[in-house]
């Protein structure tokens, strides 16, 4: 006999992401999921963000890495709550460990939680962790073809940070090609050009975060 089931195959994971989404809405805490290749500048972006926004907002970080606490240690000097998740082999963060991490924070007194996902353009895009926005970070050094090669992330993200623009004169990075590729996948998604190293372009990123926060509080 045929039995209709119609159930999501990652049902437990979906439910947990939904639980996180409800919790963040209740506490009015913005959570952004920063996704990019290893070396694209996720931690550098967070360093600049924590330094600039800590006077204005109560911030926290969930730091995901396969191994080591190197990124968490880099962020310690900004004196915000940090929860480190060592996935010990898993290539992405999933909602169960995010939910446990959120319990470590005084969520009601936090404005923004940043999740620095494992360095990977593929798998983190697949897994909903209950975030308000996925932010794709790509760097000039990786080449201009990454959006078309990793379409799910660039289609799902709410913003693209194009980092290391100070390297443009030294590479064959075709900015028009990159912009067109992103536009083809994701209409009017903002592309914010930055150099974390040279502290360029970051104001637009901070403004975007402020807008996301304002949207949440409506």
């Amino acid at each position: 006999m045929e039995i209709k089931v119609i159930k999501h195959l990652l049902d437990a994971s979906q439910k947990k992401a939904g639980e996180i989404r409800n919790l963040l809405a209740e506490k009015k805490t913005l959570m952004v999921n920063i996704i990019g290749s290893p070396g694209s500048g996720k931690t550098s972006l967070l360093e600049k963000t924590l330094a600039a926004l800590k006077p204005k907002y109560a911030l926290a970080v969930i730091e995901g890495d396969v191994a080591t606490d190197r990124d968490a240690v880099r962020l310690q000097k900004y004196d915000v709550p940090i929860c480190l998740i060592n996935t010990e082999g898993a290539c992405h963060l999933e909602p169960m460990s995010i939910r446990k991490s959120l319990d470590e924070f005084d969520l009601g007194n936090l404005d923004i939680v940043f999740v620095e996902n494992v360095g990977n353009l593929v798998c983190p895009a697949e897994f909903d962790i209950g975030e308000h926005a996925k932010i794709a970070i790509a760097s000039v050094a990786e080449g201009h073809d990454k959006p078309e090669k990793y379409p799910l992330l660039f289609n799902e993200c709410k913003a693209v940070v194009l980092n290391k623009v100070d390297l443009l004169p030294y590479t064959d990075f075709d900015k028009n090609y990159f912009y067109e590729s992103v536009c083809k996948l994701n209409g009017n998604v903002p592309i914010i050009e930055t150099s974390c190293r040279a502290a360029q372009g970051l104001d637009a990123w901070f403004t975007l975060l402020g807008e996301m926060r304002a949207e949440l509080l409506k």
Binding site: E2, I6, K7, L9, C123, E126, P151, N155
Partner: protein
Amino acid sequence: MHEFSIVEGLMGIIEETAQKHSLCRVDLVKLKIGAMRQAVPEALQFAFEALADGTVAQGAKIIIEEIPVRIKCNDCSGENTVKDYAFFCPSCESRQVTVIQGKELFIESLEGD
């Protein structure tokens, strides 16, 4: 991607459903998987054969229906199938579109006795 995780989830649902309906064996499983999910049918098949071994679904056939990516235009309301990952409306060329299909990851049904 993560076909083993997906099949682990599937096996849980199959076992729960089989128990609920007192099935001694499951012969057929129908899945609906959206084209944007990056799931490889051959890898799903392989993972299923490995994980179904020794369970009520051992030897069951899997049928995977791939669901194409479709968008609805926020400006002209036209609905179209996405070709070549181009997420804009072919009728009015608007980039303001909503994905209405193509991210599914469901078990539709199963058959057994």
